[in-house]
Symmetry: none
Subunit: 210 residues, 4 copies
């Protein structure tokens, strides 16, 4: 890779990471472009070499982080066959991401709203893919007779995501984060959704301890 191209990439990444942090700390509207520039160690104008405008920067963060998230989710679910185990893994995976990339998850929360509301032409398809993974698990479970056929995968996808995300948000916001134990929550939420969808006569596989 020629050094010039490497440099270019570096700077873009630098800006993206800085923006993620700044947006997470101050909120998108409260954050100034020059804050991002300072944090990234570049000049204000440099940002406009890589992004069309402030909003584009926000969407890019969303897109890029979701790409990463999706790839990792796929990897996490890859080796698992049992839908029940997959749901548990999904929940744990989500909270692990939150814990590891706190800023990222904070920004995603906000963007979810911003992108829907103000950017009419923008559709958060990456988010749908994320949810789609849960929908597929449910449908697979239904096919196998494991889950009730009358549960709606689409509705429950949003519900499951909302449940995880709301708890994650509380954890992010909490002064005392011990009040919001992520691991316990992952298992509790997964368990409720699993049992809640279980067909008559089926039973939960035992929870594997990690």
């Amino acid at each position: 890779m020629p050094p010039s191209r490497a440099k270019k990439t570096d700077k873009r990444v630098l800006i993206t990471e800085a923006a993620t942090e700044v947006f997470a700390e101050k909120g998108f509207h409260q954050a100034r472009v020059s804050d991002v520039a300072r944090r990234a160690g570049v000049a204000d104008g440099t940002i406009y070499l890589y992004f069309k405008n402030k909003e584009d920067l926000l969407l890019s963060i969303f897109e890029e982080n979701m790409d990463l998230l999706l790839a990792e989710l796929d990897a996490a679910l890859a080796g698992i066959d049992d839908p029940i185990a997959q749901i548990r893994t999904f929940a744990r995976f989500h909270f692990e991401q939150v814990r590891t990339n706190r800023s990222v998850s904070e920004v995603l929360q906000v963007e979810l709203r911003l992108s829907h509301k103000f950017i009419k032409e923008y559709r958060p398809e990456k988010l749908w893919s994320y949810l789609g993974a849960f929908g597929r698990i449910v449908r697979e479970g239904q096919t196998r007779g494991l889950f009730r056929p009358d549960t709606d995968p689409f509705i429950l996808s949003w519900a499951f995501f909302g449940a995880l995300d709301e708890f994650a948000m509380q954890w992010v916001l909490a002064r005392n984060q011990a009040r919001f134990p992520l691991e316990a929550a992952a298992d509790q939420i997964a368990e409720v959704f699993i049992r809640g969808m279980l067909a008559e006569g089926q039973q939960t596989t035992p929870l594997e301890v990690t």
Copy 2:
């Protein structure tokens, strides 16, 4: 009621309602204070007789509607003894509010969360009592041996709220709202949480059709 007091009250309400509509339509940041004033039929300055600043106006909308919401939630749950029925009622109630007060919901769901101050300092405390209602239902169900004793009412409160709230937000934001059927979602989500928490050997009471 003396006319002068009535007038005073009217004007505050006028402004709050106008602000709710305008914020819902254009978004908080895109809305100008003078837009709200015009819609309310008052002068710009009048707004500042009742609200400290633009953000205070936004937070007041939350404050006032939450008070109302809590009172109505209590009323809705009041006559019901069965925890299972209460959960179903809770879910339906939440979505009914969303549908009935669409502008209000839009502001609560979307605009408020873009306020950094609201998110970071304000929200958790005010939601506590709304969530508390669900927590109480779960604990009562546990006491009666209806729900598993190993479910955590606190975690599930946030999860339940998150599930409802996320779906409600999608409905509010959706261009095609038929994609997000509120009644079906209420029952689906309630059912999953109920079954998900049910103790061994217990069974769901049949879903009453409204």
Copy 3:
């Protein structure tokens, strides 16, 4: 005096006194009309029954306080024949007023500037009368051969007033007012001006101790 007229007079005085205090504390531009109203215990609108506008209120304070000041200065100087003694009395009188009516003197300081600068048609003739008293003393001293004929009463009037007023201002502003001893200053300043104007061969009358 009919009670209604007494009442009217009372309220005007109330407002004037409140305005003097408020203007002294916050400055004319920083003070709000409603501050004055609150301090006076009247409604905002009431002020406009007695004064044309905020500026008129300021000028009225000036006029009224200067009337009082002039009358008292005349009384203080009345029984004194010796110009030298009169100058000493003038200086002491000025500082006594400052000490007694601190707010008044603060406001006069500011108004002096405001009135000159912004109210083109306004001429602070009351101030000129105040200064005129000093000019007359000087001229009388010259007539009697006590003071040098080549001192300019007009110039020295402003100089004398400036000397007194600047020191008074420092006293007013000082956190530690002991640093600015008014009595000592009165005598020092009077003495310098007296000796400074004395004709050759003349000598100061001894300073009477009060």
Copy 4:
């Protein structure tokens, strides 16, 4: 000096000078920031790259001119040994500055004093060194037996400054400036203070004509 630095400096100076003129002409409160910007030939926002806000701009004018003034006063007094001659020079210097920098004086004399912040928090400290020069002259005169030992240098510093300053203000404000002859005033005021402080048996050195 590199061109970039020169340009930056230029713009700050440009703004300061424009502000001085505009404030002198219209008064601080009547002047709009955009007036200053237009006069300086810059955009409104540019002013805020160099000054915190409008009042900071006003205070900066004071700050910068006082620094200059002090340096020039020191230079003016530098070659003179005789305290009496120094006092005359001081007075002439003060009025010469006023005449030469009329706009600056107008701002310092009038506008600054309408700033509550300036008056209450700022002024005394900054004047200290200007006044200190006079105090040192008096003390030197006392040491040499030229001035009475019972004159208080501190009190007379303020008095001297007040005398000069008051007359200067009248000159600045006067419609007919011939009424306030600066040279005559310089000599009159200096003479009064010199003779006023002279020890018994001492006599004034003759006034050198410039």
